[in-house]
Amino acid sequence: MAKALEAVLFAADLPASVASLAEALEVEEAEIERGLQEFGSRLAETSGLQLVKIAGGYQLCTNPIYARPVAKLLKPQKQRLSRSLLECLAVVAYRQPITLAEIDSVRGVQSDYSIRQLLERRLVREVGRRSTPGRPLLYGTTQQFLHQFAMDDLSQLPVLAEGAQLKNDDLQPMLL
């Protein structure tokens, strides 16, 4: 079971849900969960890989102990976000779905350039339009956002200081 899970998780380039793993391996989800647990702890002991829960699914990645040799081989281009992009991203993450005008008003600066950058990096996406005059576009964060910051879902975002906290009406289901 653990072996099959390893093969399947290796081949999947994206986080795999328990349901999709259960379907692929033709077993019950409970068995997948047991298998993942067993496999995860076996990896931790014997392997240079680890199992992480990220962006709503399970995925294999390298153990951070080996970050140095891996980076030496891959020579990855660091794509760290500038402070202003991070600021814009944080506003979108906490207030989604949000219009560009609202982002501008929170930040006090025009954010169209930042949003375009974030769209290009697939960290935010257009999630719909608000039904107010002008039907402005609404933005929200993506799976890629969760993945890039190693989060499983949005509930893991750090709690904000008073005043900037998520409001109820901010959590309405996204209009698509």
Partner: protein, 255 residues
């Protein structure tokens, strides 16, 4: 806690957001102070912009661009945004119409980005931590391809079969200016129809006459069919025989 509160204290929050413009100092009769302050007081209608000459500020900005802009693109950009705002605002003031549009009504809305400071910091830490993890990209290698099982056939067996085919081939006709080209998938269709469930040698499969080019196309299509499981190969007495594979062909691709 200490590092976090320190970072909070150090963060310079200007009316232009977290990224402060460079300290361009403006001195004139109507106003004296930094570009950032000018931006704030104009926005709050606390100053008559008509009394502030913008040309010297633009000149100071250009000077700054020439000297230091390369160091901090974001600051320069922020300054540019502020300048553009001031210029547009002043342009409206200079127009005869009385109706100056309210350009920045939404700017007054709370909260501002300052309250996201802690979150931004956390995201920065997570970003750095995430850089220590490496996932299989899948991007570089395209679609994941399953390891293929071709039994006891070696590439050399395939090469022998191809060589003997080439030996029989006619030279290509050169005078055709635009030979009709088949796509590989069309050629795969042709080869698939030539195959049957009985194993045949490559020599039997191809009907004379054919050119070298046609032989190459034939062979490439055959290899592709083997790869996708629609053809299979076996060796008997040192010769390779081909037959239809287990996998049925998909619908013909759109043309």
């Amino acid at each position: 806690m200490s590092s976090r509160s320190k970072a909070l204290a150090e963060a310079k929050i200007s009316p232009l957001g977290l990224c402060a413009p460079p300290p361009l100092i403006i001195e004139c009769d109507a106003f004296s102070g930094s570009l950032s302050t000018l931006f704030t007081v104009v926005r709050q209608h606390k100053i008559d912009l008509l009394g502030v000459p913008l040309l010297p500020i633009c000149q100071a900005y250009f000077l700054y661009m020439l000297e230091a802009a390369g160091n901090d693109l974001e600051s320069s950009a922020t300054a540019l945004v502020a300048l553009a705002y001031l210029l547009e605002r002043k342009a409206w003031l200079l127009l005869p119409s009385e109706a100056e549009p309210e350009m920045d009504a939404p700017l007054e809305i709370e909260p501002n980005a300052y309250e996201y400071e802690a979150a931004i910091e956390t995201l920065q830490v997570w970003q750095a931590e995430r850089e220590q993890l490496f996932f299989r990209s899948g991007r570089e290698s395209g679609h994941y391809e399953m390891p293929m099982e071709i039994g006891q056939i070696t590439p050399a067996d395939l090469a022998r079969a191809f060589e003997s085919l080439l030996a029989r081939a006619q030279p290509d006709l050169l005078e055709r200016l635009a030979p009709p080209r088949r796509s590989l998938s069309e050629q795969m269709g042709i080869v698939f129809h030539a195959l049957s469930s009985d194993a045949k040698a490559l020599d039997e499969l191809m009907v004379d006459p054919f050119t070298r080019n046609e032989a190459v196309w034939w062979f490439l299509a055959l290899l592709e069919l083997i790869r996708v499981g629609q053809a299979s190969a076996e060796v008997r007495d040192g010769d390779v025989f081909f037959s239809r594979g287990k996998q049925e062909p998909k619908e013909p691709a759109s043309i």
